[in-house]
């Protein structure tokens, strides 16, 4: 009995756990994929294809323990529950207790690893130091080889950031908002430079580390996140920014998070959330950038918003009737994946199956390729089954868009985990 009590003392209590995880849940980067970490000593490894350990009741994958070291904050970002001027319960955890908790969860296969973050407790450097202590303790003392995603603290000392990067799998400095103007307005203590600079430094260090074969330097790279719907930037602008983040800083992922109002005492923020459709369309467009060889400008011009009624691939295809229909039996893979409704998985199936036989529309249906949207853009064995009148096609595409069914909305709150997007089917 005594022993149990002593154990209990070293453990994070339920209330602290609740406070420290309550706000971290809105951080959308759940993914644990993309890192391959082998074990030299101790426990754990990382798995290339992400593993979901559970699903929340809103249908998101739980893969990591997402936790803040502290939610005590000296900053006052307008959109944040934990900002200084809010009256919310506060807590913090010490590195040792956190390590124990992570090990206990990991060993039982509850989690793939940890997503460690923190509010700015006292100062950026003191916060970064505690985060650094924790990851070093995890790796060195506890021999933990599982996945660590560490949130970088803007304005923290460069050397600490670099040192942390050599222990963790992934780091993220959050862009927060899609423009400098909005950042100034809504997160007055953060500057664009304090976010972009470490991103740039990490990405150049990453290249050097690769040259020198230091494989423990951010094996899963960097990501970032921005809030959409809190400020007035167009989708075109958001996508352009996203594209440049991929090309300049070699980010692995840019996450969008729909603004959810938590503070009502300001006129600078919308009183209602924009809903998840905007976020969803952005993710679809992002997918096209990353996997289908589209550029942002092909999809949309900078001052435009994405069409809410159509997925961006459909919208693109409708703007280019001269490219369609394509013949499924002969079209090269890169053309097939640009057909609305045919994703990478579908294109693969087609390419495999057409080696054996000339594919008809019936064959496609048999192979369970969703043809509802595709029929307007393909011929199968020379035959066309779609409609030619563009406004009609537009209407039909919109009617077959799952995202527009009211019940489906929250399924897209985390793209990494929705199966349709794992396979890239758009």
């Amino acid at each position: 009995m005594k022993q149990m009590f002593e154990k209990g003392e070293n453990m994070i209590d339920q209330n602290t756990l609740k406070i420290l995880t309550d706000s971290a849940k809105y951080d959308v980067s759940c993914s644990s994929s993309g890192s391959e970490r082998k074990r030299d000593f101790g426990i754990g490894n990382c798995h290339m294809a992400g593993i979901c350990h559970s699903f929340t009741q809103d249908g998101r994958c739980i893969s990591l323990l997402k936790i803040l070291m502290s939610n005590k904050c000296v900053y006052d970002c307008l959109y944040c529950v934990n900002r200084r001027s809010n009256d919310v319960p506060r807590a913090s955890a010490n590195p040792k207790d956190l390590c124990e908790l992570i090990m206990d969860f990991y060993k039982r296969n509850y989690i793939e690893g940890v997503f460690l973050s923190s509010a700015v407790d006292k100062s950026p450097n003191e916060t970064m130091e505690r985060l650094l202590d924790t990851v070093i303790m995890l790796r060195k003392v506890y021999g933990f080889n599982g996945y660590i995603h560490l949130k970088g603290i803007p304005s923290a000392d460069r050397l600490m950031v670099m040192r942390a990067a050599s222990f963790v799998d992934r780091m993220s400095f959050n862009i927060e908002l899609p423009s400098e103007k909005s950042l100034k307005l809504l997160a007055p203590q953060k500057s664009k430079n304090a976010i972009i600079r470490p991103m740039r430094e990490l990405s150049s260090e990453y290249l050097i580390a690769k040259e020198e074969k230091r494989k423990h330097f951010l094996p899963a790279g960097q990501t970032t996140q921005m809030i959409v719907g809190a400020s007035d930037e167009s989708d075109g602008k958001v996508l352009k920014l996203t594209e440049s983040l991929y090309s300049f800083y070699k980010l692995k992922r840019v996450y969008f998070s729909s603004y959810v109002p938590t503070n009502y005492d300001t006129n600078l923020l919308p009183k209602t959330s924009v809903g998840l459709l905007k976020e969803h369309r952005l993710y679809q467009a992002d997918w096209l950038l990353r996997f289908y060889g589209f550029s942002a400008s092909e999809l949309i011009s900078e001052d435009e918003d994405l069409d809410p009624m159509l997925d961006p691939k459909c919208a693109w295809a409708l703007k280019h009737p001269e490219l369609f229909p394509v013949e499924v039996n002969t079209a090269p893979p890169e053309v097939l994946v640009r057909v609305p409704g045919i994703g990478i998985k579908g294109a693969n199936k087609i390419i495999m199956a057409r080696r054996y036989t000339k594919l008809t529309l019936e064959d496609l249906v048999k192979m369970r390729i969703v043809t509802k949207r595709a029929i307007h853009f393909i011929t199968a064995n020379g035959k066309f089954f779609g409609k030619e009148h563009l406004p009609t096609v537009r209407l039909l595409l919109s009617l077959n868009d799952k995202a527009l069914e009211p019940k489906q909305m929250s399924m897209f709150s985390d793209q990494e985990t929705t199966l349709s997007l794992i396979t890239g089917e758009l």
């Binding site: 022993q3 149990m4 154990k7 209990g8 453990m11 994070i12 339920q14 756990l17 609740k18 995880t21 309550d22 849940k25 809105y26 074990r39 101790g42 426990i43 754990g44 490894n45 798995h47 294809a49 593993i51 979901c52 350990h53 559970s54 699903f55 929340t56 009741q57 809103d58 249908g59 998101r60 994958c61 739980i62 323990l65 997402k66 206990d104 969860f105 060993k107 039982r108 296969n109 509850y110 793939e112 959810v260 998840l276 199936k349 495999m352 199956a353 080696r355 054996y356 036989t357 594919l359 064959d363 048999k366 192979m367 019940k407 489906q408 909305m409 399924m411 709150s413 985990t417 199966l419």
Partner: protein, 252 residues
């Protein structure tokens, strides 16, 4: 209607193929399970014979590859009552057409077969995440799972690599147990019930995990349909975070 009945082993299935080719007949059903014999059925019991099995497996490797043979056997892990038949039919086509037919996705037998494979694959991948260990007294980790398909030995290597600790995974459907010392693993069928005493700390950790599970949920976006799509209800009773939640929030 010709029916082949065999002993459920891989070799047995290969012998069915041997029989079929040497008698130049195509059975309509190949199975190892007991079934209700019907009047029009002509049931043949196929004897397993290592030499014949070897000849067939050589043929499959010649026309396809070792990978083809493994893929065919992989589907035998399915609990589907027609899985053996599907494997037979696909293997028959490979031998007949002298090529790997498993990518001929417009063929309905192949389609059935690839479905079986992807179900097994999905379940294997799911259990990498959904397997829950409890710490037993003495430090050994214990998990019980209830998979639809025979996958316990498929997930074992992952946990050997990851945990490097002593563990047991018990497939309670097939009473099949994987035991590992943290370096390698063995599979056996226990003859007496396994008794596990949990460490006293276990309850507290479980409670913390349940707390976390509740805390990450975004109530305003509740979508149980979506949740169950990814994590079908049959898994719930063995997951720490969902097993005690008989509360109304879990009703659709």
């Amino acid at each position: 209607m010709i029916v082949y009945k065999f002993d459920s082993t891989k070799e047995g299935l290969l012998c069915c193929l041997f029989e079929s080719f040497s008698k130049k007949e195509l059975p309509e059903l190949v199975t190892s399970s007991t079934f209700q014999e019907q009047f029009e059925m002509q049931v043949k019991i196929i004897e397993t014979n290592a030499v014949n099995a070897e000849r067939v497996s050589k043929g499959l490797i010649k026309y396809g590859s070792i990978a083809l043979l493994n893929r065919l056997f992989y589907a035998l892990r399915s609990s589907d009552s027609l899985s053996e038949n599907a494997v037979f039919q696909v293997a028959y086509k490979c031998l007949k057409n002298r090529r790997d037919e498993t990518y001929n996705l417009t063929d309905s037998d192949v389609l059935y077969f690839t479905d079986l494979c992807s179900k097994i694959n999905t379940e294997r991948h799911r259990y990498l995440g959904f397997t829950r260990f409890s710490e037993a007294q003495g430090g050994i980790l214990y998990a019980h799972i209830e998979p639809d398909n025979d996958i316990v030995d498929l997930i074992a290597p992952h946990f050997v690599k990851r945990l490097a600790l002593r563990f047991i995974i018990h497939d309670v459907v097939r009473n099949k147990v994987v035991i590992s010392d943290g370096k390698a693993f063995e599979v056996f069928k226990p003859t007496t019930p396994l008794v596990v005493y949990l460490s006293p700390k276990e309850k507290e950790i479980e409670a913390l995990w349940q707390k976390y599970y509740q805390s990450v949920n975004i109530t305003e976006r509740k979508n149980l349909k979506q949740m169950h799509n990814f994590m079908p209800r049959r898994y719930e009773k063995r997951l720490v975070e969902t097993k005690n939640l008989s509360s109304p929030i879990f009703k659709d």
